[in-house]
């Protein structure tokens, strides 16, 4: 049973590593931001898997913290960069 948890976590970690390609290449800032959303979701998945693996329920707190705050980045990007466009026009 443990081996499944480990394989899944390693797979998810490799997913994060792959997502870094978009950070490097992403032509616009929105592309790069989407990778952070991918990291947030994947990170939560890893934490959930680790919760099962380590049998430590408090890890769920970390997962929720990540994900309720993920919205802040999206709103921040939309609002902050929208204002910039408005100023330059």
């Amino acid at each position: 049973m443990d081996i499944i948890f480990i394989i899944v976590s390693v797979f998810l970690l490799l997913n994060i590593a792959l997502g870094l390609i978009r950070v490097w290449r992403g032509p616009t800032i929105a592309d790069r931001l989407l990778t952070t959303q991918l990291f947030g979701t994947t990170g939560m998945a890893i934490l959930l898997v680790l919760t099962g693996y380590l049998e430590q329920l408090t890890l769920l707190n970390v997962a929720i913290t990540f994900n309720v705050l993920a919205i802040l980045l999206v709103i921040g990007l939309v609002q902050v960069w929208k204002k910039k466009k408005g100023e330059s026009s």
């Binding site: 950070v23 990291f39 680790l50 970390v62 990540f66 802040l72 980045l73 902050v80």
Partner: protein
Amino acid sequence: MSVLIDILLAILVIYLALQSLLAPRLSQSVFLFFAFGLALALAWVRLGAVDVAITEAAIASGFLGVLFLDALRDFSPRSSEEQKNISTVQNSRSRNSVKSLLLPRLSLVLGLGLFLLIALEAVWNIPDGGGLAADAEKLLPQSGVEHPVTAVLINFRAYDTWLEIGVILLGLLAVFAVGKIQIYRKPIPVVDDILLRQVILFFTPVLFLFGAFLLYFGKTGPGGAFQAAVLWGAIGILLHLGGRPIFLLIPRWLGQLLLTLGLLFFLILGFLFIAGGATLFEYPPAYAGVLILIVETLAAISIAAALTAMFANLNQMKKEESNKIDSTN
């Protein structure tokens, strides 16, 4: 087998740390830094420090995230002409000020060097024999909480934590000092966007509830005032971004009260029991649990207010500056 996860995580953390410093573009650096925060939080989880992992997750991916995005906007030039303007201004400025800045710089380097030496001396002389862990463990029932980290932070080493709250306030004062305080009172136009409003309406109670949960959960497990404060501060930042700057809507004295409440109450509590023969920041064990909860709540409110004010003030300040540049052009 689980070593595989750890090795992968370690490589990821070091790679991301290096790349976020060395990446050629600022936007790459910023987003690599977010990824670094995530990897670091996972690493803390693997090391068993769940408290630190929550704080890392909240600060790195939430608060620093919006601050960096905000900063990124101001560092990305809107046109190549403007870029030229900025660089010429910077060049002339730096040429003029090199000589006059020599003395302050020298004294800064000397001061920092001295500080580092003192810090090195302090680290060098750590007493051996496992430190104070055994004593802290023994006194845990008297502390009023069950989670050792909270007991150390709010009870055994309350003095440190009190100063930490002060440090956050000091950071805010620095932001106020650099920006002009009048700008802080300037109203910003209300954004009327139905999608944005719905998102904020949905997330404000979620953030508040989860923050309150983390605050209360700090008594028995990982969580506590600082983590809750970031979540509550996120509410303030969301409202600010949605065109409801909270510090402009409430009277000024109330804002100042919110900012200083935690520090003030902690200080009063610290000295309160000296009259009864206790030492500084010693609570009577019978009431310790309740007192710690009150202190943590007020501290969380103050830190949340400080984080909100920091973001709001920086956001406003830069907008004002860019408006000024526009009008002079």
